[in-house]
């Protein structure tokens, strides 16, 4: 059997598979469709340090080979999170990477400290890229200075591996990646869904309640693979690659471009069996191709 374990900044994953934050599980229900142990790590939905309703409906529109969404990271209060979600997350038998967001540096610092102090997480993912918020997220992730300053502050709050989740920002992503690396981030997750929008041809008004949304799914895969390819050349911390992954072929594509782990996102909404199937297919692929260790394919398209 080939080795499937990967190590993301000290987080030991028994295979390279995780999920895109916000695209898998809810209300403590992480095993609706397959045993959670199949995953290398779990990345639950981004939380805030305060209660938040999210964006007004409609929040979804179908796009060509993709999904347009503007959920806006609804969040329960910290108290309810601790009472309702943490006990469930504690019992998860694989590493849990909690994704967090803030509107200001202070809010990021607060939520990172709180999460770190809980002692249940294997790592913290900083969502620097939510495309559906007026404040926070993207305003950090598209600016090398702002993201560097933020990571430095947050770094002091936790010894846990810090993963910076970046937006698909062509001209800045390489500089932002370098900035978060030098500021002490341990890994990069990419890409978050690019900002996008649809207008109803009948009403000639935006389809989404929030007007602007984000595009995810297979439509964005060639963009995501390209950006992973570029960032891999620029940094030495590991990359968790995502954006349109559907099957094991996409997994190999992202890993060859430079991702050490991969996240299944939007496909979870449509094919709840995508992850178990891809895991089996990946194993078979490695065997058939005489690859002993999945780590061998990381970045191999660059040679």
């Amino acid at each position: 059997m080939p080795n499937l374990c990967v190590n993301i900044a000290g987080i030991k994953m028994k295979n390279p598979f995780t999920v895109g934050s916000g695209t898998f599980g809810n209300d403590g229900e992480f095993e609706k469709f397959f045993p959670i142990e199949l995953l290398g790590a779990l990345t639950p939905k981004t939380i805030r340090s305060y209660e938040w309703p999210g964006n007004p409906p409609p929040r979804l529109a179908e796009a060509a080979a993709g999904l347009l969404s503007s959920v806006g990271i609804p969040s329960k209060s910290w108290e309810r999170f601790v009472k309702e979600d943490v006990p469930v997350l504690k019992k998860i038998p694989i590493p849990v990477i909690q994704s967090v967001i803030g509107r200001t540096e202070e809010e990021y610092v607060e939520i990172v400290k709180k999460c770190s102090d809980l002692g249940v997480f294997a790592g913290i993912e900083l969502n620097l890229s939510c495309p559906n918020l007026k404040q926070g997220g993207l305003s950090f992730g598209s600016d090398p200075q702002a993201s560097e300053s933020l990571i430095k502050k947050v770094r002091k709050q936790t010894k846990l591996p810090l993963i910076a989740k970046l937006p698909p920002d062509y001209s800045n992503i390489v500089n932002v990646a370098k900035a978060v690396e030098s500021a002490g981030a341990d890994a990069i997750a990419m890409i978050n869904a690019p900002r996008a929008m649809a207008i109803d041809y009948k009403t000639r008004k935006p389809v989404l309640g929030n007007k602007v949304g984000a595009l995810s799914g297979p439509a964005i895969k060639p963009i995501a693979v390209y950006l992973v390819w570029e960032v891999y050349k620029a940094v030495s911390i590991p990359i968790i690659g995502m954006g349109g992954i559907v099957d094991f072929r996409d997994v190999i594509e992202f890993m060859s471009a430079g991702a050490r782990a991969v996240a299944f996102g939007t496909i979870n909404f449509i094919d709840t069996q995508a992850i178990p199937r891809a895991l089996k297919d990946l194993e078979n692929y490695l065997i058939e191709n005489n690859i002993d260790d999945v780590n061998e394919i990381v970045g191999c398209a660059h040679c």
């Binding site: 916000g22 809810n26 007004p56 409906p57 179908e62 799914g217 979870n268 449509i270 094919d271």
Partner: protein, 264 residues
């Protein structure tokens, strides 16, 4: 709730742009309840990208079969008309919270308009099987577009029909109004019209019966994970605070008090 492959038993044109799809899929058919729905993958391509949600229309538990009644409105439903007998179809279900039929219910009413009548057929079926008396109030633009007539008749339901073209002053709920309060309903269930939902809700307040409505919203996952299918509803019976609820998870069936004044 599970994702599983069913086999298409038949797929036949019913009337106008309405089709009936019969699927053999025991693991869902034996569990699904009226008001719940399934998420259908229309083909195995990326276009259309999302699954399409359809309510349970009828179920034949012993045979492991269920039926969906669907109206052709766009790309996905148009493709569904080409599904062939004997081929396989990928479903997720049962999904959502169905209708509540009170334990000792004796008489209920269903109020449906157009294709919105589909889930009410499932409910009437279950209720009449349990010996509950079912009154049906059906509405459509034109008489020949009324949905479920034959089925309700076979179940022995009492029928009240209304078509806009024949009498556009009245509403089908006017018949319901006339029966009240002489006739006591243990529950009134509505689907397919905001106007009828408001009417039912007003009558429920006046006469004190339970009333539920089945909502629709565009969906990605259908199983609570994406938070995309929310509608703004009242949070509690006081109707002072509003909140977002997921149609696929907290619904698609809601109490009319949650809905009326916000979403309908």
């Amino acid at each position: 709730m599970q994702q599983t492959a069913g086999t298409i038993v038949w797929n036949e044109h019913q009337m106008e742009d309405v089709w009936l799809l019969t699927i053999e899929v025991p693991r869902i058919a034996q569990r699904i309840k009226p008001g719940q729905f399934v998420q259908v993958k229309v083909n195995n391509l990326l276009d259309p990208f999302l699954r399409r949600p359809f309510s349970l229309y009828r179920t034949f538990r012993d045979e492991g079969k269920l039926q969906l009644l669907y109206k052709v409105v766009g790309k996905g439903t148009r493709l569904m008309t080409t599904l062939k007998e004997g081929t396989s179809i990928d479903l997720i279900g049962p999904l959502g919270r169905g209708f509540t039929l009170p334990h000792h219910a004796e008489k209920i009413a269903v109020v449906g308009r157009g294709i919105g009548t589909a889930p009410l057929v499932a409910l009437a079926d279950e209720a009449s099987n349990k010996g509950v008396e079912v009154y049906c109030f059906l509405s459509a633009e034109e008489k020949h577009k009324l949905v479920g007539l034959k089925e309700f008749k076979e179940m022995g339901c009492e029928l009240y029909l209304h078509a806009d073209t024949e009498d556009n002053v009245k509403m089908v709920t006017d018949y319901l109004k006339k029966l009240l309060p002489a006739t006591q309903f243990d529950g009134v269930y509505v689907c397919g019209s905001k106007r009828l939902t408001r009417e039912v809700h007003n009558l429920s307040k006046k006469y004190g019966f339970m009333s539920q409505v089945s909502l629709e919203q565009i969906m990605a996952c259908g199983h609570g994970d994406c938070h995309g299918c929310v509608v703004e509803l009242y949070q509690d019976k006081e109707r002072s605070k509003k909140c977002y609820k997921r149609v696929c998870k907290e619904g698609p069936v809601f109490e009319t008090w949650e809905v009326v004044g916000v979403y309908a």
